[in-house]
Amino acid sequence: MKARDAKQRGAGGALGGRPRWQTVLIWVVTIIWFAPVVWIVATAFKPRADVFSLTVFFKPTLDSLLAAFSPPYLVGERLWNSIVVTAGTLAIALPVSTAAAYAFSRYRFPGGQAWPLILLATQFLPPVIIVIPLFVVFKNLDLLDTRLSLMIVNLSFIVPYATWMIKGFFDALPPDMEEAAMIDGASRLRAIWEVVVPVALPGIAAAAIFSFVVSWNEFFFALVLTRDHAVTLPVALMSARTEQGDAWDIMASMGLFIIAPMLLISRFVQRYFVKGLVSGAVR
């Protein structure tokens, strides 16, 4: 904590030496970025009458939040669906991607460097093209409107990207460490778990955040493949567009739940980006 305070003071000092127009620009950009978020939070707590007004002063109420949790919106269940789908996706994607990235980074394959490229090439197909065949497949497997189907779909595009991200980190790690571990008596798996993974943790954390954001916000496949039981938050947002018009207060309440974990998680994992764990490994 102390080190961070010192760092921030240092940054503040640098800010003082910055040209005035840069400071102004930074503030303008910050306001442009934050205004919609602030507006969503405000709208979620506005009384229904004030939702369509531009008033800044209002008496906060939990009415729209309560409405969002009750039928027909059922944010509670949608939120649970989103959590299960994302958690399930990450729980499978991270170990699989880490293992695949290690293999691509360290082993020689017949066909050489083509395999990681082929993995990435699977992502060149636009989702619109594969969604209909996927729909048919899941229908035949009786998996339509299940969380499992969403996890499977999420994995199909998260694993390739996460593998590439983590592979980049493994490529940059000198093999000395894991070789030392293997000579010291560890099996290869143990060397990966106790030496490679801890050192590559910033990279794996970055891949995890990326995977989380993509999975949490995934809309297109969830819209097509779910109807009732497995609806996730981004799709639930659509249900607030009713015949009586768009229920912005409900949407804002849902928006709170879509935004909240993102802020929490990025805050929590941030320290992994700051730590330069690799320094000291060589030279």
């Binding site: 000198p174 000395d176 030392a180």
Partner: protein, 352 residues
């Protein structure tokens, strides 16, 4: 402690030969240095002993076990890497204790052993630091401590000193020498630095292009190089190598016919003589004469390079000597300091 035997060991990648069918026996407790330029196969050979590379052919024996296809962890070897290979996320204490941890030693026992070993390499003050907080020399000492903590059968050291500055290198060299003597563990040490080879080794294997050129004590390798490669590689400044002809015990060199230096007839040869074995003399007394071409002060000696009919001959002289560039000097040397090699094959000719 064990004998290490390499039997017809070979490593190829496609058409590229890394190590070409080499056999070698390293005695129990011996300090063996693999010496050669980069790409000569010395590191590959060591990595095959460690189990980090699989040989294309041949066998590796450690003690009574054929370990050719064994995993690194089952070979009971320890290795010190050029870039230290420390675990950056662990403290010095955990780094040193890691080999014990993976082998299931109890927590208390491994803490005690790690501390004992740390004391041996003077790291006891730094046990709770991370590798990134250490200097290069300290990191290398951690790597050494981690290697000796487990009392392995064989030490492998892959250019352990090449990342250190010159001063630290000589003190760490002494440290390694002392540790090896004290622990008496069979050691393979890879280096391209002939000083390290000369000072540390019981025996040196000089390698080039995947082939062991000469195997012998540092003295033998230095005093009786078995071919032109070894002659040129060992020694700094390197041995003077001059083309010549040997007919009827007369050496025809740089326009002079010298007798009494070698016997027999051989045609085209290369004559070698080390800078410290050449002496300056007056032009009339010299076996060869030349003009002073370069004058270098190294501190403990003076190096004079003379131009002998277009050939450069380096002479190591007493440090107070001074001379003019372009001055004519004579060069003398003794028969026993002369090395004669076949010009075609590069092999040493003298049988003695």
């Amino acid at each position: 402690m064990a004998v290490v035997r390499l039997v017809n060991l070979e490593k190829r990648w496609g058409d590229v030969v890394g190590v070409a069918n080499q056999s070698l026996e390293i005695n129990d407790g011996e300090f063996m240095v693999f010496l050669g330029p980069s790409g000569c196969g010395k590191t590959t050979t060591m990595r095959m002993v460690a189990g980090l590379e699989m040989p294309s052919a041949g066998e590796i024996w450690i003690g009574d076990h054929n370990v050719t296809h064994a995993l690194p962890k089952d070979r009971d070897v320890a290795m010190v890497f050029q870039n230290y290979g420390l675990y950056p996320h662990m403290t010095v204490r955990d780094n040193i204790a890691y080999p014990l941890k993976v082998r299931g030693t109890a927590r208390a026992a491994r803490a005690a052993q790690a501390e004992e070993v740390a004391r041996k390499v003077e790291l006891e003050q730094l046990l709770d630091r991370h590798p990134r907080e250490l200097s290069g020399g300290q990191r290398q000492r951690v790597a050494l401590a981690r290697a000796i903590v487990r009392r392995p059968q064989v030490f492998l050291m892959d250019e352990p000193l090449s990342n250190l500055d010159a001063k630290l290198r000589s003190s760490m060299r002494a440290e390694i020498w002392r540790l090896q003597k004290e622990l008496n563990v069979t050691t393979i040490y890879v280096t391209h630095d002939q000083i390290e080879a000369m000072t540390l080794a019981h025996r040196v294997a000089v390698m080039n292009k995947g082939v062991i050129q000469q195997l012998g004590t540092p003295e033998e390798v230095y005093n009786r190089p078995s071919n032109l490669f070894v002659a040129g590689f060992m020694g700094s400044p390197p041995m003077n190598l001059l083309p010549a002809r040997l007919t009827d015990s007369v050496i025809d060199i740089a326009g002079k016919k010298l007798t009494g230096l070698a016997n027999g007839s051989h045609g085209d040869v290369v004559v070698g003589v080390r800078p410290e074995d050449v002496a300056l003399s007056s032009p009339e007394m010299g076996l060869l004469t030349g003009q002073v071409y370069m004058f270098e002060l190294t501190g403990e000696a003076v190096l004079i390079t003379a131009d002998v009919q277009g050939q450069k001959v380096c002479v190591r002289c007493e440090r107070s000597l001074r001379c003019e560039i372009g001055a004519t000097v004579g060069l003398t040397f003794q028969r026993e300091h002369l090395h004669v090699f076949d010009a075609q094959t590069g092999a040493r000719l003298q049988p003695d």
